[in-house]
């Protein structure tokens, strides 16, 4: 590993992890409200194409991210209507949402291949970015990287330190009880679903606007499924979601760098390492205390108030 520059590696992993981190955070909030939305991949790719179209059309990457969030939230409302109003099965609806998103994005993306989106500049920290090591790691990124980290803290604070977060969790643990207390279960879940969609959409937009940056059909290539898995293995806790996303992104980047640096570890092991290590570490930190009570008790169960 002598050849690998650690600061460059960390800086790269922070960028590579952003899409998964944003999507996983959003899905975590949705699941905390008791809604299992398996449509993360579909919402991400809708965000990727909506963001791309708007960024190309307006020349503003910022508006692109807003549109990406709107696109993800928009398609998630479809899920919300089906599951909250028509009480459709959440698993089936979520899977359908993914298929629908992949198809619709391909349709919308006709004519957008081969186009370069406007570049998103890295924030200029002036002298701070000149600090050895830390400058490269902490002060060399675009705003979305900092936004994703801010959201980890914000969501952690919201869920564990606010009354609204408590209500959200109550809805996810027992919709009946929350309903009996007078909370609007459907409305709260609607908000959680839309938030999850917006975050997934932003994650998707990050892929098409910054990380790759271009539009290709199926550009998210399964990132949504990784995000879903990370939520579970992180046992629905924001900081663990961060750890999971950085581990997965980090080891993905690390294994490519190790290959490029001529590591003697066989490539097969390097290629499977992101999956194995992420699962192993998250299972290890989630093991032991309260393993069975981690999942929101009402996860995946529809609720209908009988009036």
């Amino acid at each position: 590993m002598g050849d690998i520059n650690l600061s460059v590696l960390i800086a790269s992993l922070m960028v590579a992890s952003v899409p998964i981190l944003l999507a996983a955070l959003g899905e975590m909030v949705t699941e905390r409200a008791g809604v299992l939305n398996l449509g993360v991949e579909g919402m991400m790719i809708m965000g990727a194409i909506c963001g791309f179209i708007v960024a190309v059309g307006t020349g503003s990457p910022l508006l692109g991210f807003v549109a990406g969030a709107a696109g993800g939230a928009g398609i998630s409302l479809l899920f919300a209507v089906l599951t909250l109003v028509f009480l459709a099965n959440q698993v089936a609806t979520g899977l359908a949402l993914t298929l629908f998103g992949l198809g619709l994005s391909a349709l919308m993306g006709q004519g957008y291949t081969g186009i370069k989106p406007p570049a998103t500049a890295e924030i200029d920290f002036g002298a701070l970015s000149e600090i050895p090591f830390l400058g490269r790691v902490l002060f060399s990124h675009d705003w979305v990287v900092y936004f994703s980290l801010f959201m980890v803290v914000a969501i952690w604070w919201f869920i564990t330190r606010t009354r609204a977060g408590l209500v959200l969790r109550a809805v996810g643990e027992s919709a009946e009880a929350a309903h009996a207390l007078g909370y609007k279960v459907a409305r709260i879940r609607l908000g959680a679903i839309a938030f999850g969609g917006a975050m997934a959409g932003m994650g998707g937009a990050y892929i098409s606007l910054i990380r790759v940056p271009q539009w290709t059909d199926g550009i998210t290539a399964g990132a949504g499924w990784i995000a879903l898995a990370i939520v579970v293995f992180a046992s629905w806790r924001p900081v663990r979601v961060l750890i999971g996303a950085y581990l997965f992104g980090g080891i993905t980047v690390l294994q490519l760098n190790l290959q490029a640096a001529g590591s003697s570890i066989p490539v097969e092991y390097l290629s499977m390492a992101p999956y194995l290590v992420t699962i192993a570490v998250l299972v290890a930190i989630s093991a032991g205390r309260g393993r069975n009570t981690d999942a929101p008790a009402a996860l995946g169960q529809n609720f209908h108030s009988v009036r």
């Binding site: 006709q110 081969g114 990380r211 940056p213 290709t216 199926g218 290959q259 490029a260």
Partner: protein, 359 residues
């Protein structure tokens, strides 16, 4: 007795019908299995362009059908079966991983012609394999790489450890080294044909390791899109010209021209002259093209064009000895030229490339 006669005549009728399909046909249904989306910017798009031109060439006489994003493996077998049942007369399967499924389905549909791209298995008389000599294009690109690299590190985003990819790595390296003996080849295995984010990550990892010329053997323009973010890094169009990244980072390209081949093979089905074969054309036949060389000094351009022209003229073979294998043993003696048999099973690096090929 009557029943037996009936059965016999039915069998006779069936065999006549079967014989009929082997004869000339007025209308041919040609079907294509794609590993990626038709607008991937590279491999699949190049096939699709050729398919549309084939359709245009024949007009009403040919009906084309395709399916995108077909995963290699069991799914592809289902898709091919569907196509065969759906009346396709000839089915082109356009990715290496369709090799065994193609042969398996071909066994069940002896009247349907199967054409598998980039593979080497022809287990049934209705299976043909076809490929193009991409390594000839890599020789031209490798020449550019050797002259352009300033860090003396060139990188290769490899997809899967199959002979075609290894030919590309070896050819790129040999020709870069010819121009610049200090050059070092860095290979990253992505284990995907089509995953823009991963391809971009692989390109980033190469750049982080000091690579300034990137070859790709994956299907999308993602590595070029990523390279465009770092000044001084160049790459090459793969499968399609990828002209949207001209003049730099895309400084040249290897263009796959499947059109002539598809027209020829569909015509053969139409004429009833189709036979199993192994087709492998290169620069000279136009199956492989070199995209316009841009954004490099004139002497680099001239050197690369000379390699291209010599290959076309037949005066130069990209694998001409002396060439040793990675372990130092002699592969090709002085003046000896690699045979097609050597290429079909290529599973070793040439001398000078470090690292192991995943098995």
């Amino acid at each position: 007795m009557l029943r037996r006669t009936l059965l016999a005549s039915a069998a006779l009728g069936l065999s006549l019908m079967a014989a009929g399909t082997a004869m000339a046909q007025d209308k041919v249904k040609a079907c294509f299995v794609y590993v990626g989306p038709i607008n991937d910017g590279g491999w699949t798009q190049a096939h699709h362009i050729a398919v549309l031109k084939t359709q245009e060439h024949f007009g009403d006489k040919v009906e084309v059908m395709w399916q995108e994003n077909v995963p290699e493996g069991a799914d592809s077998e289902r898709v091919m079966t569907q196509m065969a049942l759906g009346g396709c007369n000839i089915i082109f399967t356009t990715s290496f991983g369709y090799m065994d499924p193609t042969n398996a389905v071909a066994a069940k549909f002896p009247d349907v012609k199967f054409e598998h791209a980039t593979g080497y298995k022809r287990e049934h008389p209705n299976v043909t394999t076809y490929n193009a000599r991409f390594y000839e294009g890599r020789a031209v690109n490798g020449t550019i790489a050797g002259m352009m690299t300033k860090s003396n590190k060139i990188g290769y985003i490899a997809s899967f450890p199959i002979p075609e990819v290894i030919q590309g790595i070896n050819s790129s390296y040999l020709h870069a080294k010819k121009m610049n003996p200090a050059v070092e080849m860095v290979v990253v295995w992505a284990f995907t044909w089509n995953d823009p984010a991963k391809e971009a990550d692989a390109a980033q990892a190469l750049i982080d390791q000091g690579v300034d010329v990137i070859f790709q053997h994956t299907d999308t323009t993602a590595p070029l899109a990523l390279a465009a973010k770092t000044p001084g890094v160049i790459g090459f169009g793969q499968a399609r010209d990828m002209e949207e990244y001209k003049p730099s980072p895309r400084v040249s390209s290897i263009i796959d021209n499947w059109e002539a081949y598809y027209i020829k093979r569909v015509q053969a089905v139409m004429d009833g002259t189709w036979e199993s074969q192994d087709s492998w054309d290169g620069l000279a036949a136009g199956a492989v093209g070199i995209g316009e060389i841009t954004g490099v000094p004139d002497d680099v351009k001239a050197a690369a064009e000379k390699v291209r022209d010599d290959i076309i003229a037949g005066t130069y073979h990209p694998f001409t000895g002396p060439i040793n294998k990675q372990d130092g043993s002699v592969w090709l003696a002085d003046g000896q030229v690699a045979t097609d048999g050597d290429f079909a099973g290529m599973n070793f690096y040439v001398e000078g490339i470090t690292g192991d090929i995943p098995q």
